[in-house]
Symmetry: C2
Subunit: 738 residues, 2 copies
């Protein structure tokens, strides 16, 4: 057995790098104090002198009702935030019974302060803020200047408080802050693929934050900080357990544990949901079948829902992975997905809960024409069910039709189910993108999908608008598979915090620009200083394309190592199902490379709206970055650049590696501005990413060269090793198996 | 399937308790700042005003060589510690080129400061300090008063620095501190049962601190804090991986990862060791057998040792679990444990490494007389091999002959192998003692074993003296199975930190009194204030006997739940091997209860020295707390208390529960003196321990009542549930399976 790292040399190199890095710091003892990342983007570090004085004058105290846990949470956050920004302890932030000059006033629309000037204008603004939005503005109460955080609901007050603190952290002058915002989607949910034994499927940040064993009687204070971080972004739901669910999740003991978590999250506007295993009642030996049309089964689920709601009155509902990758489901009984989803939905409906039913299925195909293309199978099963689902069912669709690849075209189901509310499922954890080691900012990936124009109905219709119900008014939501674990910094690396942040911000406002989101995050996480923000954002914005280039350029996909999905394994051809093998997806041979999804192949392009289908059907109109997703082309196919496909492929691999070089160089220039601890951690990860980008590039070029039989383009560096070396590497203890 | 916690009621109770606790704190905002426990006993919080001034005068700067990493580590710790105690930042602790008034001087024996008064007296003291000891005293250099930390070696300087800081933290006046100390044993080792996938067998504090996946190139700063904590106690070895080892541990990739850890630990005097799987070369397909007498096998191990030492020149050696609980070993090839250990020892000997060969074996017995008693089997296999082991082999013996029970008599092998150096193996993690939930201070358990008088040779001969080589000069060592994980507070609970601390302190000085160690720990962990220390120590000192009483009083043992070993399961009788079943150990029936290990039974008592064997052979001279370990007695056996055995058993169970009540009450009185975060966490755990003590008591009484057929003694409360309830509980996701 061999491994990637070649031992002594690699280790000594790493030790030297580390020594060198630490040595450099020894001469910079006056730099920022070390940070361990636990505070995320809610760091509230003291402002510089001048803005600190301005804030002290503009925030002399807080006036707020204290009658609900949510408003108390908002007040506590304001005290914490102001204390931090002002360099005080939070007990030095006064609570005011009445607004005075400089008071920060939390005001519900139904009880605006007496003496408020321009109250009608505020009411007009609040009319646009909906049930979760907020208005933040300077105002006068009995002539005294105050900061008003107003909303129609308590959760709006909490969201407004976080929004105001965000602006302050980013350096906005207190008297210039005026905000009016509300979320575009009602369901903004993190999906935890966390198991009951505390392992996390596809988790790279330690074990689950949920300590199921110690719950419900021992409650980790970390749950509160989790809730704060999510509420600061507007995330309002959490599915606590893995979609590959266990029947025991619905046992009385685990319902009690779930309720204890719900109690902590509730003041922060976060509902808990559970993933459920289809066959739960059967496995608990409480029914004789799991057939959704069996009345005893439906009755069991109704009773179970009643039981859950008795202790969790605001329970959100169920997430279901059924008839997918070995999970049981209604098809085991000759029923379809709608039969299954609706049965559960009827159990939840009396309690206003929802079912999020996943469309991630790829067996067994029923249309022979699409039997050969896994990418076509979810559409094939779900599109015909459009309109057959109960009102409280959402169909949850991954952003692309395969599986969270570095790049996929948007899933063809978006726009194709106008009568069904859809949930977007993004993956925030980087299963296929270098775990917590590689710096890959996912904002551009999320944005690319959300802005994809489905042309549904022959009109402009972005995926974001589909989710928001622009087709038939069926409003959906957005889910992200969490990258959160018990690591001190929550996500395993500093920059992976940005993916949690970007997911939350885009879930709230899918039209936000991912670069603007990166700017916010960089300012909050390091410092609102252009010398920091500009290079950090530049690194972030080039990072995703870099990973695409060194992993799977030009529309290639699913070439990662078996099981763990970490490194390159384009050669794998011996797995049980054809569509688990990388060779199934890239189809590289002497004749060319790529998956023909046009009419001459699987015709999966036909699942898109006609305008989109036509564009993807022709290599000339297919975006180059998706070329090999849709087309099988000869190695000498001429690319828009003028290069042959082979030369272009190699150039992309090289460019990916070069981009990591550039990111490393940018980070080194940031050394004076970042605390040593986070600096060294990121530097170590970038160095490893650089090695592994080279590994990806070398292994893929070596393999595709063997398939193509072509020489390397002139001037291109040969892979460091022969192909056999890369094929021999194995990683038996990779994290994330769950 | 049913579970322990009865859902809604238990949860609501917990929520109310928590709310009440937090509510109380709301009125105490001026209390100590929250602590998360990461700093362990190295908190270095600012001293009160008067002693702070005294220390400022007595520690004006540090004069130390800077030519070795170990002395640099000592200097860094002194700066960190003094800065904390003085309320400064560490860059405000001056480094002095020459001793001046108030300088803290780190001085090697070979280069004492010029101008030192009474240098000869110091040299005489240093002559008693050995290779790891130290002398700390006030001294004068050229007339200037200084604090001298002197040692024969660099590690002595580090240990002396930690010892001095400990005294300062405990409130000692700087001018009164005079220390001379050296360790009694040369090997003081933590055994990590950490797997390569980062799970931890019998770990209850999160996943492994070793991030094998990210090593060697990404090095967690936590490794340094781990090293500091261990060095502060004098622990000088760490076995990094589980004794149930994987072959891949010795692959080049994992040797490189190990080397990266060794690089971090080395300055702190900690050598790394690895657990090795006997069949490693065979499984790596590099030999055709694992027969220890096959020259190719021996050559493989010699080459592997060479490979390890090339990158880890101070590698400590191997820990081996062979022919034990399914692990392969030399007996698979008809060889014995000495054959196996010596083959490995010869591979390590050229590099001065050692083999720690575990005696935890219990199959297959060769003496028919002892075939029926697992407690006798390790002695049976190992005692005849005394004198057959190479010089660099240590036989590692668990403290008792079964498996880390709440109470066991000392293992009969101690004293019975005078020609073989023995390692004590304690378990610091509480596999059988309530995980990280129950507060059980293990100091008294360690002390009880270390002070057990083996009467080997008919003379006083404590286990501690056996380890120190008092029999034939064969000096052994001491190992503890670590309770350390990635939990923020390292050990899963505040009070479990005390078990790491006590293990380390007793490993250094096995004669230390466990109450004195508890006083140190309490002072360091909370505050050196009698109002805190006295009740904390009282809780700690009664805690172990409380657990014995509510779990397995009067010498009962091994009645814990199958696999996870958490709750009570005395009824289990259906496991594959007879000696895996609780009924095998307690043998309760109509006729009585207990395991007859006298001549009428397994005669395991004969494995002790004659004086001890005689004492244990007679119920009248057997200590009551070990009675049922050695004797099967009728239920109406008259105890020294005058009660019948049955009444006494029930009384012990009740007393155990009462003791937890008392611990809870003591902790509540400590509320004003402990920060809210740690207070609440401990309070939650004690409340859970109270519930579970009741569970243990009720389940065991219900079961033994069924076996005995006797009525409950007068006035005794009946169990809350019928026996069937307790038997029905299951815990499929308990932690620690590894």
């Amino acid at each position: 057995m061999q491994y990637l790292m070649r031992c002594a040399r690699a280790r000594l190199t790493a030790a030297l790098v580390l020594t060198a890095l630490l040595g450099l710091f020894a001469t910079h003892v006056a730099r920022a104090a070390d940070e361990d990342g636990y505070d995320l983007w809610l760091r509230y570090r003291p402002l510089p002198t001048a803005p600190r004085a301005a804030l002290a004058a503009a925030a002399t105290g807080i006036a707020a009702p204290s009658d609900t846990p949510t408003v108390r949470a908002a007040t506590a956050e304001l005290r914490r935030g102001l204390a931090g920004l002002l360099g005080r302890t939070s007990d030095k932030i006064a609570l005011a019974a009445q607004p005075r000059a400089g008071t920060v006033v939390l005001a519900r629309a139904a009880s605006l302060p007496a003496g408020l000037a321009d109250a009608d204008a505020l009411r007009a603004a609040l009319a646009k803020a909906g049930t979760e939005g907020y208005v933040v503005r300077r105002a006068r109460v009995d002539g005294a200047p105050v900061t008003l955080i107003a909303a129609n609901t308590d959760i709006g007050l909490l969201y407004g408080s976080f929004a105001w603190l965000r602006q302050l952290q980013l350096g906005a002058a207190p008297d210039r802050i005026a905000l009016l915002d509300e979320p575009a989607l009602p369901l903004r949910v993190l999906d935890h693929w966390d198991n009951l034994d505390r392992t996390v499927e596809r988790g790279y940040a330690g074990e689950s934050i949920w300590n199921w064993w110690e719950l419900p009687n021992i409650v980790d204070p970390r749950y509160t900080d989790y809730a704060r971080a999510n509420a600061s972004l507007g995330i309002n739901g959490a599915v606590l357990n893995n979609v590959n669910a266990k029947a025991e999740m619905l046992s009385p003991a685990f319902i009690a544990k779930t309720a204890a978590i719900a109690d902590v999250l509730r003041p922060y506007g976060i509902r808990v949901y559970l993933s459920v295993r289809w066959s739960t009642p059967l496995e608990l030996k409480e029914t004789k079948t799991a057939d959704p049309l069996d009345p005893a089964v439906a009755a069991w689920w109704a009773r179970k829902a009643d039981e859950i709601y008795r202790t969790i009155p605001d329970f959100g509902g169920f997430l279901v992975k059924a008839n997918s990758e070995g999970q049981p489901g209604p098809q085991d009984y000759g029923r379809n997905h709608a039969d299954g989803a609706n049965m559960l939905a009827r159990a939840l409906a009396p309690h206003h809960g929802v079912v999020m039913w996943r469309a991630f299925v790829y067996s067994p195909p029923t249309h022979p024409a699409q039997a050969s293309d896994r990418a076509a199978q979810a559409y094939d099963q779900f599109q015909p069910l459009d309109g057959k689902f109960d009102d409280n069912v959402l169909v949850q669709v991954k952003n692309g039709a395969i599986d969270f690849q570095p790049r996929e075209p948007a899933h063809p189901l978006f726009g194709a189910m106008p009568h069904t509310p859809l949930m977007m499922e993004f993956q925030v954890t980087k299963e296929y993108l270098g775990f917590a080691t590689h710096l890959v900012y996912l904002g551009p990936l999320f944005q690319e999908t959300l802005r994809f124009d489905t042309r549904a109905g022959g009109q402009p219709m972005t995926v974001a608008r589909v989710l928001a119900g622009a087709q038939q008014g069926r409003v959906g939501g957005i889910a992200g598979v969490a990258n959160i674990g018990s690591s001190r910094n929550w996500t395993g690396s500093t920059f992976d915090q940005a993916n949690w942040y970007a997911f939350g911000r885009l879930a709230w406002s899918p039209d936000l620009d991912s670069r603007a989101v990166a700017r916010e995050w960089a300012g909050l996480t390091f410092a609102p200083d252009a010398r920091v923000v500009d290079p950090v954002v530049d690194m972030m914005m080039r990072s995703r394309e870099a990973a695409v280039d060194y992993m799977t350029p030009l529309g290639l996909h699913h070439m990662m190592g078996t099981g763990h999905h970490y490194g390159p394994a384009p050669w794998v051809d011996d797995l049980g199902r054809a569509d688990w093998n990388p060779v199934y997806y890239h189809r590289a041979g002497k004749d060319g490379i790529g998956f023909d999804r046009t009419a001459t192949g699987s015709n999966a392009v036909a699942q898109y709206a006609p305008e989109v289908a036509r564009r993807f059907a022709d290599p000339a109109t297919t975006p180059p970055e998706l070329l090999l997703w849709f087309h099988h082309l000869p190695w000498d196919f001429r690319m828009p650049s003028g290069r042959t496909l082979w030369d272009e492929l190699v150039a992309h691999y090289d460019h990916g590696v070069d981009e990591v070089d550039a990111m490393q160089a940018e980070w080194q220039r940031l050394r004076p501005y970042v605390d040593a601890r986070r600096y060294v951690d990121v530097a170590q990860r970038l160095a490893q990413q650089r090695r592994e980008a080279q590994w990806w590039r070398d292994a893929c070029i070596a393999y595709f060269q063997q398939r193509s039989g072509l020489p390397l383009p002139a001037g291109v560096r040969a892979p460091d090793h022969a192909l056999d070396h890369y094929r021999s590497l194995s990683f038996p203890f990779a994290p994330g198996h769950g």
